[in-house]
Symmetry: C2
Subunit: 172 residues, 2 copies
């Protein structure tokens, strides 16, 4: 089965992101607005059980995560993805690192650029038009994330949440 | 914020349900295939915290749930909803009851008919055509559900999972 790990920001940020995604993001209907913490990976049922135990442990020893969003940005010229930029911070980086170590090690050698995609698969003309307007816009969200989710992918490409992992060393 | 409580069946059942939902269910893009355990309800942040504590307690004291699906059925003539019928059982009924008692009490006086919707808002002609074919079909799924989810609704109607609750008195 195909799994992925994501963090859902608050409803407020999701609603804001969706107001763009519905027009510009072809994945709009497949998953709510999210920060990808680990890209799609394959695991069988046995592997998944090991991974879930590891994720519980990682969550328990990871602090809640400050999320600060200050602007629109894009991966151009690599691709035409437009996103809400999430300011990197140590806790988020540390979590990302743990989600790519031990049983969770994979071939990924990307630098982690935390973001919430709001547009993709745009033509060049549309990309320049849309991003030209968005990059001038002021955006400001600050909140604290206290959970992340393991999801699996259905045949049609949509994602279902399998389990929530609550962050925080001092959780009740 | 608007919340709801649902149970997601396995990927196998979800893929099967989606093969119909993509054609017949106008909510296809809003939520993966699911069994509704508690209909949409309103709660503020403080209420939500109380509810979440209650749900953790309910989950801890509820056994895993056998799910058996044997046929397509429909709510006609009340409405044109077509669904996969989930055989009622005591554990499921008991969970439903707990999710409508105490702080979770609401005005709902429906009988609980556990089901996975695969079609809705069909015209009468389409309903008779589709259901006429589906009711002849043999369906057989049996599995065990070991979790349910609290979800909240975004402005566009889509649902995001907030938290997973693991069932089982004897969980490790």
């Amino acid at each position: 089965m195909k799994y992925g790990i994501a963090l859902f920001p608050s409803k407020q940020i999701q609603d804001f992101a969706n107001s763009y995604r519905k027009r510009y993001d072809s994945h709009y209907a497949l998953i709510p607005p999210h920060i990808t913490l680990k890209n799609v990976f394959e695991a069988d049922d046995i592997q998944a059980q090991t991974i879930i135990k590891t994720l519980r442990q990682i969550a328990a020893e990871t602090d809640v995560i400050p999320l600060k969003i200050t602007k629109f940005s894009s991966f151009y010229p690599v691709n035409n993805v437009i996103y809400l930029k999430v300011e990197p911070n140590e806790t988020l980086q540390e979590l990302y690192k743990k989600l790519h170590s031990g049983v969770l090690t994979d071939q990924s050698d990307y630098t982690f650029v935390p973001h919430i995609t709001i547009g993709r698969n745009l033509s060049d003309a549309e990309y320049f038009d849309v991003f030209g307007r968005l990059k001038m816009q002021t955006v400001h969200f600050e909140e604290t994330a206290d959970r992340f989710h393991l999801l699996y992918q259905l045949e049609d490409g949509a994602w279902t949440v399998y389990e929530t992992f609550l962050l925080g060393k001092d959780r009740e």
